[in-house]
Symmetry: C2
Amino acid sequence: MPKAERELIARIRKMAGYPGAAPGGRVVAGIGDDAAVLRLKPGYEALVTTDLMLEGIHFRRDWLPPRDVGRRCLLRGLSDIAAMGGEPIAAFLSLALPKGVGQEWVDEFFKGLLKLAERHGIVLAGGDIAQSPRGVLADIVVVGQTPKGRALLRSGAKAGDGIYVTGELGGAAAELRRSQEGRGRGRARHVAVAEPRIEVGRALRGVASACIDVSDGLSTDLSHICEESGVGAVLEAEAVPAARGAELEMALHGGEDYELLFTSSRSVPERIAGVKVTLVGEVIRGKKMWLVDAGGRKRELGAGGWEHFRSQRSPH
Amino acid sequence: MPKAERELIARIRKMAGYPGAAPGGRVVAGIGDDAAVLRLKPGYEALVTTDLMLEGIHFRRDWLPPRDVGRRCLLRGLSDIAAMGGEPIAAFLSLALPKGVGQEWVDEFFKGLLKLAERHGIVLAGGDIAQSPRGVLADIVVVGQTPKGRALLRSGAKAGDGIYVTGELGGAAAELRRSQEGRGRGRARHVAVAEPRIEVGRALRGVASACIDVSDGLSTDLSHICEESGVGAVLEAEAVPAARGAELEMALHGGEDYELLFTSSRSVPERIAGVKVTLVGEVIRGKKMWLVDAGGRKRELGAGGWEHFRSQRSPH
């Protein structure tokens, strides 16, 4: 490994609290061995999720401050763990940097990532560093745990179940629109404050029949539940909780919300772990998704809404 | 996610044996959920390792056949699990592909990776796919398990321990030299046949005081053990088991051997799990590494040998 990369790893270890601070608790061994050693609670299963972010495809360095790129990187992984009803334990980061990315950018990136990690009580337990031929590349792995057999899967939705979402949707998309019209600073605000719904996910164990996080947009993520569960869905347009400034299309297809979308046959409280929960529709037999408007008119809802929506804008 | 990527994921799921074949056993849920769910043996800890491979930095598409790129990707991760004394459970792959990489290349890549996975009884349980702005990029994560408190770390070597290596070293470096001189086909043969020393690693639980896999070269990997354990080392040049055609420098600094390097205060058999084990030196007090030649002359051994060696050749 070249000297520059060794030095960077030494700096990351220091920022992440090594030696001493980080290993301990559930992380028995972290950065500095062939593999990290993680200790799960007895009777728990391991959860593993990976998320790849590429400059020019998933973000632009001139649009998103480095601190938010780092935060978003971990946010995506933590949101996946939340959607499984899990508790996060540790993160692993593979980072490839092109020449010309300075130490300040890298330090800010890690500050954003490590601050969110600390907030959720997890450590950066490993990863890899390389030089990139072009563009920043970050692949994050988050490992978590759930009690045996109680992970929230996408495949358990049944006809008759209610469809619920946490929080509000379309906020990130509305922000991007304002930015494109020269009235804002891009998505930075949403990604800088959105929190992974870890506590909500834990509370949904035994309550939700299926669960996913809203990262690609409500319509696309609902289609994943429908596909994996072999069911269809009806959404009530009026019921979808749009964020301030977000049109219905943004709430339906916008993405990057980091809320949870779940189904349940049980009665679900209006708030879970302090977060608003809204009934937005019902699981039905079949394979199709439908949207019913305020006047009762029903039209088929495509999962491709997001791609269509996205194709009109630059990489964010 | 664009259509091309969705189709690729569907093809990977099929190649990896989904649905049905893969989940089961220790992998409760795999590709197709927010996170994979892995079930460890009771009383075991989780091991997690990541390895990033970039075209142009770690391999060249015109030198290494796609099947060997895929095999090497997983081999690196499995070798890390072996070095911890672990049993592998599942692999996760994040893959970014530039335009112009055809379906045939991708299929061959996965064939190489999945064949090695099958051989070691593990499944591809998740990952991510994206378009790369330039060059193929593959980040592999391997998750394994060891009995609680028995992982082989780099940090346990003590003055007086013997230093051992499995198999033979320098084979990959010798192959590369032959290739550079127009007498071979690059590293393909070694990477196509090298096996991660999983069984040896398991047998070393309670025997080795420290362990690492030889991926960067004996001198560099030994320096990692010395740093993490706070010790020095003396190697006997005559004892280092060089592969056929490999000079001493290649065996000392070549890298990509995928053998295990370990220390032990106990008596170690000449073969473990069918693999030759050679005593090559001794752990000493201090921080330095020394090489003693056949005539008894002692010179300091630098961990930088590999970088120096590597700087003379093209990316492999």
